[in-house]
């Protein structure tokens, strides 16, 4: 058993070393975006590193339409502006062609005014470090449960 504690200790040291070497670099590489009213609907798409999804392909759909209302590419800063012509749900599907995609939607009740508040994809307020610690805790928790389960099934045999 002592041997495993030593292994754990070693690997934990290595992991912590990585964290200390790159303290400010703990960023996910998912995608996130917002839709805001700005003389139309302004879409902003970025990776969770903060980098914009520059020139990614975008398709705009109204309700369940299969043919896109508009399609094209985001600009260099990951922005795209369009004017909805009718009320309903408007959906933006963004794809960078390298496996990263993002889907955003918003409800438009009056396309002429576009004054209603539009929901954007919310992120929880939990910081990345906390999420990271939660993830690690879950992993160790699961390992512990599995370790215990393997132990009991071994005893039964």
């Amino acid at each position: 058993m002592y041997q495993f504690y030593k292994i754990n200790h070693l690997a934990m040291m290595a992991m912590l070393a990585i964290l200390f070497i790159f303290p400010s670099l703990l960023l996910a590489h998912g995608t996130q975006g917002t839709i805001k009213i700005n003389q139309g609907l302004l879409i902003r798409a970025k990776y969770s590193t903060g980098e914009p999804m520059a020139y990614a392909n975008i398709k705009i759909f109204h309700n369940q339409d299969k043919i896109p209302f508009q399609q094209g590419n985001l600009d260099k800063n990951g922005l795209f502006l369009f004017h909805p012509d009718q009320k309903g749900i408007w959906m933006a599907k963004i794809n960078d062609g390298m496996g990263h995609a993002l889907s955003l939607e918003t409800k438009v009740s009056n396309p002429r005014k576009l004054t209603q508040k539009t929901p954007s994809q919310g992120n929880t307020n939990i910081s990345k470090i906390w999420k990271l610690l939660m993830g690690i805790s879950i992993i160790f928790g699961l390992s512990g449960i599995f370790f215990w389960w393997k132990g009991t099934s071994k005893k039964d045999q």
Binding site: I7, M15, E51, G99, H100, K128, K131, G135, F146, F147
Partner: protein, 202 residues
């Protein structure tokens, strides 16, 4: 290197899920109780490593460490990577739940293949052969993952070669870095804890 939700058709998602499930079951069945802490540690390391971004030029890249996980865990890399990717998807919107199986296969399968290919080198008692084996495993696991991403995108209707070209060129630095990191970690473990290099979960 992860594929997001909404890109792949259901058939690929189902196939990926099935392969990942098979790999995970094999990994769990072959795992001895004594190996569980190691799997837990490597799962945590993989979970954290993918979130560390290293700025290179105008962009940034992140570590994958699937090659290292493959060397140290063998078949158990499947359950380890599955759990880590699930948590990344839940906490960081990294990949997605429906695409979890495909992403697990993308990361774990090349790691396992390169581990088995390089096993004679990794098990060698000669330092430089072990170094070459670990570098190839680290490098090849990322290369294989890139190729699998391109294959999945090609099956989803994108043309294979342009996608593969973009993905592989973008990941050349990380392949080299992964190879070097894997080499150093394995060489270090060889000196301080040589029994860790033989996972015996194979």
């Amino acid at each position: 290197m992860h594929i997001s939700e909404g890109i792949l058709p259901t058939t690929i998602l189902a196939t990926g899920g099935l392969i990942a499930l098979t790999g995970t079951i094999i990994g769990l069945m072959r795992m001895e109780q004594e190996q569980v802490p190691r799997v837990g540690i490597m799962t945590a390391a993989f979970f954290v490593a993918s979130l560390i971004h290293v700025p290179i030029g105008p962009s940034s890249i992140h570590l994958v460490l699937n090659g290292l996980v493959g060397i140290l865990l063998g078949w158990a890399c499947f359950p380890a990577i599955l759990v880590a990717l699930l948590l990344q998807a839940l906490f960081f919107q990294f990949g997605g739940i429906s695409v979890l199986g495909v992403n697990t296969v993308i990361m774990a399968l090349p790691a396992l293949i390169f581990y088995f290919l390089c096993k004679p080198l990794i098990n060698s008692k000669t330092g430089y052969l072990l170094g070459i084996g670990s570098f190839i495993s680290g490098f090849g696991a990322v290369l294989g993952a890139g190729i699998l991403v391109a294959v999945c995108l090609a099956l989803a209707g994108k043309s294979f070669f342009p996608a593969a070209k973009v993905i592989l060129i973008a990941h050349i630095p990380i392949m080299i870095i992964e190879g070097i990191i894997t080499l150093f970690i394995i060489q270090f473990l060889r000196k301080v804890k040589p029994e860790m290099i033989n996972p015996s979960i194979t």
